[in-house]
């Protein structure tokens, strides 16, 4: 690295760059750069991935600054002829553990010094096909006093599969290990295999069905940037409106689910009813309660008009009145406080260490919100103030949802009252010409947190790599930490209070 060369290239959210402009560093310089950047607590690593290119593996890392709207990107290269081993960075920055594990699983690169190169998801294209998900050896502690509790992959409800392995001393959980992979559908490979834009949009809608809007928005923004399409500002606002509706709906459902877990049936039922009103509005907008079909690249088939605006204002007014009244009761109930308060605490230090994002960061006093730190047009025009809570326990996660719902409604009302929705954003694009040899990173604050999509094109403008990161990639670690020294009976409320994604993680 010459002294005049910068160690990284700076971009903004959804800004595509010529891949040649991304500095290719020696691994030692790469290590120094990423460690130095992540020393600053305002920075966090949004993605770090590898893909085959010519004679070896190219690694690209992106570090985002939470206050300056900047994303620093840099890379390194490992030739096939070199020894497939790198010094692990996890020992210096814990949050990188998941990225190194993923690269190890897919490409068999050994990270020396990594504390535990545990399989991530047993992907179908993993390097070592001899490793099978069903004979994964869970972490063990040898002792006559301890026992293990295994739960999953199939759980006792309508819920996605995953395995939780508890090591307990009586009722007390000493250690929880979570293993994933049962949901792996090959999303990233399918994204490359599908040839049409509409098919790819559908893949993005299926990454995590509960975050359809979040993931498809990230995809659409990314594709528009790579194709150099200038979208209608109103379209961007509409997407932001859909994103906030998704947040309100899922947060309400989660509050309802938490009420169910502590046997508060009034809350469980009425919050459930309130959520129905929101998703039914989404259906009246686009024909699907989950929002499938709403977000399309370059335009929309379901424009948001003044009639829908007025309807939404009415739905929100009715929702809010009832929500406030019921929340006022629910959040003061001694039986709820008793179950949620001071349970499953994740400290600010722990959240920072594991690189927590989204809700899990904000409930533990870490102000990380893409709507504020890397806003798209909708959130630039109408500023969103993130909600941050100090304590990091189940009650904080419960309360954060309540506060975020109120904040989103206030934000939506600002938007709906100010926007005159007369422009038709036009039909979606059916075909795109992507820029050749380009790289782009797209961040969206879904209801769980930071969604990161990144794509690379070859010299002919074909997509050669597509990398998806759901916020759950970082945040599952928080659930493991929450359970330490807790009674095992507190697991359900902790798990619900996070409501992390299995399919978003397994891809």
């Amino acid at each position: 690295m010459n002294s005049k060369d910068k160690a990284y290239y700076t971009v903004k959210n959804n800004q595509s760059v010529d891949i040649k402009k991304i500095p290719v560093l020696h691994y030692s310089d790469f290590s120094t750069t990423i460690v130095k950047l992540l020393d600053n607590t305002d920075n966090h690593c949004v993605t770090y991935f590898a893909f085959y290119q010519n004679e070896g593996l190219k690694f690209i890392a992106a570090v985002a600054n939470d206050s300056s709207h900047q994303i620093y990107i840099f890379s390194h290269f490992l030739l096939k002829s070199e020894k497939q081993e790198l010094e692990s960075l996890t020992t210096k920055v814990t949050a990188l553990h998941i990225f190194e594990r993923e690269i190890h699983e897919n490409f068999s690169v050994y990270f020396s010094g990594h504390p535990w190169l545990k399989p991530v998801r047993f992907a179908h294209n993993r390097a070592n096909k001899n490793l099978k998900i069903n004979d994964y050896p869970f972490y063990k502690i040898e002792s006559e006093e301890l026992h293990e509790v295994g739960v999953g992959p199939v759980h006792a409800g309508i819920i996605e599969p995953g395995h939780f392995r508890f090591i307990c001393n009586g009722e007390e959980v000493l250690h929880l290990e979570i293993q994933h992979g049962w949901q792996h559908r090959g999303v990233e490979q399918t994204m490359l295999d599908k040839s049409t834009l509409l098919q790819r949009t559908m893949v993005s809608e299926s990454i995590a069905g509960d975050t359809t809007i979040g993931h498809s928005t990230a995809f659409a923004n990314l594709m528009e940037s790579l194709a150099g399409i200038k979208t209608n500002p109103q379209l961007e606002v509409e997407r932001a409106v859909a994103l906030e509706l998704e947040r309100i709906a899922v947060h309400t459902a989660d509050i309802s689910a938490l009420c169910t877990d502590v046997a508060y049936s009034l809350g469980a039922n009425i919050f459930g009813i309130l959520r129905t009103a929101i998703i039914n509005f989404t259906q009246s907008w686009c024909g699907n309660r989950i929002g499938k079909g709403l977000i399309r690249v370059g335009g929309t088939n379901h424009p948001f008009n003044n009639e829908l605006r007025n309807k939404l204002l009415k739905v929100l007014a009715e929702y809010e009145e009832q929500f406030i009244r019921l929340a006022h009761l629910t959040f003061k109930l001694p039986s709820i406080e008793n179950r949620f308060d001071e349970i499953g605490t994740v400290t600010q230090q722990q959240a920072m260490k594991i690189g927590a994002v989204g809700m899990v960061a904000r409930m533990a006093n870490v102000n990380r919100d893409i709507r504020n730190s890397h806003p798209t047009y909708g959130f630039q025009k109408y500023i969103y103030q993130p909600v941050v809570l100090p304590k990091g326990d189940v009650f904080s996660r419960f309360l954060l949802r309540r506060k975020e719902i109120r904040q989103s409604i206030a934000w939506l009302r600002d938007v709906l009252n100010a926007e005159d929705l007369i422009i038709d954003s036009g039909a979606p694009k059916t075909q795109l010409n992507l820029k050749p040899s380009a790289f782009c990173i797209s961040l969206t604050e879904g209801w769980r947190g930071e969604i990161c999509h990144a794509a690379v094109t070859d010299e002919n403008g074909n997509l050669i790599h597509y990398k998806i990161k759901d916020p759950s990639m970082h945040n599952w670690k928080a659930l493991e930490l929450s359970l330490r020294n807790l009674e095992i009976s507190d697991f359900p409320i902790n798990n619900k209070s996070y409501d992390l994604s299995y399919c978003g993680f397994d891809l």
């Binding site: 949901q183 049409t196 509409l198 299926s206 069905g209 509960d210 009425i270 009813i273 024909g287």
Partner: protein, 247 residues
């Protein structure tokens, strides 16, 4: 206490009284109909991202369709999506929509054994297995039991153990990693038992149909008793489908 009573009173009766005859408003996309108009059939076939449309005569296979509505947007005179949400059937060939036909999709009652009706008619307990489901079908299945749809009124419930269950309801395209767990769950259910595929991913693999990460071999050995199309299916589609099967 007073506040709680006020809230209950304000909400009144939220459940849909007659789920069998409940209707949905546009733009809900239900059963499509294909008109007699002449269109460029190659273009029509190619516009479907899931290859659910075939030509001469034009047919739509709802086993593959995820109700995105793209065909109706491109060929509005040829294809229309009605608001008919009753899409579930026990015969996969019933999911093929033919040109010029506007017939409701039905469960073929003749092919259902008397034992199914007499055993499950008043109480059906299902085990749900998500095998690569994206959590949208799962959310709608949960919604079936909420205060609005209240499927429990018909004695249909999801249970926590296959030993308590009368059948398994599968969502998702059935991943390689979940194949064994699904088989074990199915085997653990006492006979007679039902095998239900819910959502386009489960029925045909959906957008992931050609993915190397799937293993759908269980479908060679086990015959599905009900197909519930949709992406995700609406709770009304799910509940009416189940009722048609057992009542």
């Amino acid at each position: 206490m007073l506040q709680e009573i006020k809230i209950i009173k304000h909400n009144g009766k939220q459940f849909i009284p007659d789920l069998r005859n409940a209707t949905l408003a546009a733009p809900f996309r239900g059963r499509p109909v294909i008109g007699p108009e002449k269109v460029d059939e190659t273009e029509l076939v190619n516009c479907c991202p899931l290859m659910a449309i075939s030509a001469s005569p034009v047919k739509i296979n709802l086993a593959k369709c995820n109700f995105c509505g793209e065909c109706a947007l491109r060929f509005p005179d040829k294809i229309k999506f009605t608001r008919d949400h009753r899409l579930a059937t026990n015969k996969i060939e019933n999911l093929i929509i033919l040109e010029g036909e506007d017939r409701p999709i039905k469960v073929d009652q003749k092919s259902i054994s008397k034992k199914i009706k007499s055993t499950f008619g008043r109480s059906l307990k299902l085990r749900q297995v998500s095998a690569g489901g994206d959590n949208s079908c799962e959310m709608e299945l949960n919604a079936c039991g909420n205060a609005n749809f209240d499927m429990g009124r018909y004695g249909i419930e999801f249970v926590a153990s296959p030993r308590h269950a009368d059948g398994v309801l599968v969502t998702g395209p059935i991943t390689e990693n979940m194949a064994e767990a699904l088989q074990i769950t199915y085997d653990a259910i006492p006979s007679p038992k039902l095998f239900i595929l819910c959502g386009v991913d489960a029925i045909s693999g959906g957008i992931f149909a050609n993915s190397a990460a799937l293993n759908r071999s269980i479908l060679n050995a086990v015959k599905a008793d009900l197909f519930i199309p949709g992406n995700p299916p609406h709770p009304l589609t799910i509940i009416n489908g189940l009722l048609d099967l057992i009542k």
